[in-house]
């Protein structure tokens, strides 16, 4: 990516080394993490057992 040439990757520390909006890899990782989170949420709500109404 053209923008990466101006970014010093050694300045990025910790979690922002892998998830940021400046490097191509960082941006791709953010997208992957977002999709994974949304997928897990959908899976959770799909597989969650439905509450049965209490019988009197």
């Amino acid at each position: 990516m053209a923008g990466d040439a101006h970014v010093d990757e050694s300045q990025l520390k910790g979690l922002s080394k892998y998830f940021n909006s400046v490097t191509a890899t960082g941006r791709a990782n953010v997208a992957k993490a977002t999709y994974a989170s949304v997928g897990l949420l959908i899976l959770y709500f799909t597989l969650k057992p439905k509450k049965k109404p209490a019988t009197k």
Binding site: M1, G3, F19, S21, A24, T25
Partner: protein
């Protein structure tokens, strides 16, 4: 007397019970100037100049990557076809095929699907990178991914509906004005005619602009996948 306001868009050209209206889509091919002599005629020169200008505009958008070489041919052809259909539809009794979603979706959906399939299969990392604009604040990054995904998904719809809606709106306005002319007072008819002429001029401009917009947006979408 029309059954409803939109019946003006219904196909009405029949030959031995077969609907011939969609043939108007190819009517533009008859108007493209052909070369009789080696030296271009005035019509030929005008058409060549238009095509060259479109080629240069789209080439700027596509960039210098080798994979995009030759792509302007497809998008310039798309521009010509939509331009012909839009402008010929402004003539009386000529069916405007681009005012129907069947045609516009037929153009937009295969284009978008092929771009997405090629992009996601061959350049997955590049496509994922594009979902987060450079310099987005960290707190906004997940929302930008969702927004960009949705904006990607609705692209074929917006491409098709933009063209259809613009064509329908113009023709509908002209029809409404034309229908009301017979019941109007004599003093108002001159105002009506001036309004109709102004509207026709506007519709001609809209027809040309919408074909340009469709071609340019398709080019932009294709340039994003590499």
């Amino acid at each position: 007397m029309m059954s409803n306001l939109f019946s003006v868009f219904d196909p009405s050209t029949n030959m031995f019970n077969t609907s011939m209206n969609w043939l108007s889509t190819m009517l533009g091919l008859l108007i493209i100037p052909t070369m009789m002599w080696m030296i271009p005629s005035r019509n030929n020169a005008a058409w060549n100049k238009t095509m060259k200008k479109m080629h240069e505009e789209l080439k700027t958008l596509l960039g210098t990557k080798k994979i995009n070489n030759g792509s302007t041919l497809m998008f310039t052809s798309l521009f010509s076809m939509i331009l012909m259909n839009n402008t010929l539809g402004l003539f009386p009794y000529i069916f405007t095929s681009t005012s129907h979603l069947t045609l516009t979706l037929t153009m937009a959906l295969p284009l978008w699907t092929s771009f997405m399939m090629f992009g996601w299969i061959n350049n997955t990392k590049h496509m994922l990178t594009h979902l987060v604009p450079q310099g987005t604040p960290p707190i906004l990054m997940p929302f930008m991914v969702c927004i960009e995904t949705i904006s990607n998904i609705i692209r074929p719809g917006t491409l098709a509906i933009r063209l259809t809606a613009n064509m329908i709106a113009g023709h509908l306005l002209m029809t409404l004005l034309g229908e009301n002319g017979s019941s109007m007072a004599y003093s108002m008819i001159s105002i009506l005619i001036i309004t109709q002429i102004a509207l026709l001029t506007l519709e001609t401009a809209v027809a040309i602009i919408q074909s340009y917009v469709f071609a340019v947006l398709s080019t932009l979408y294709s340039s994003e996948i590499n």
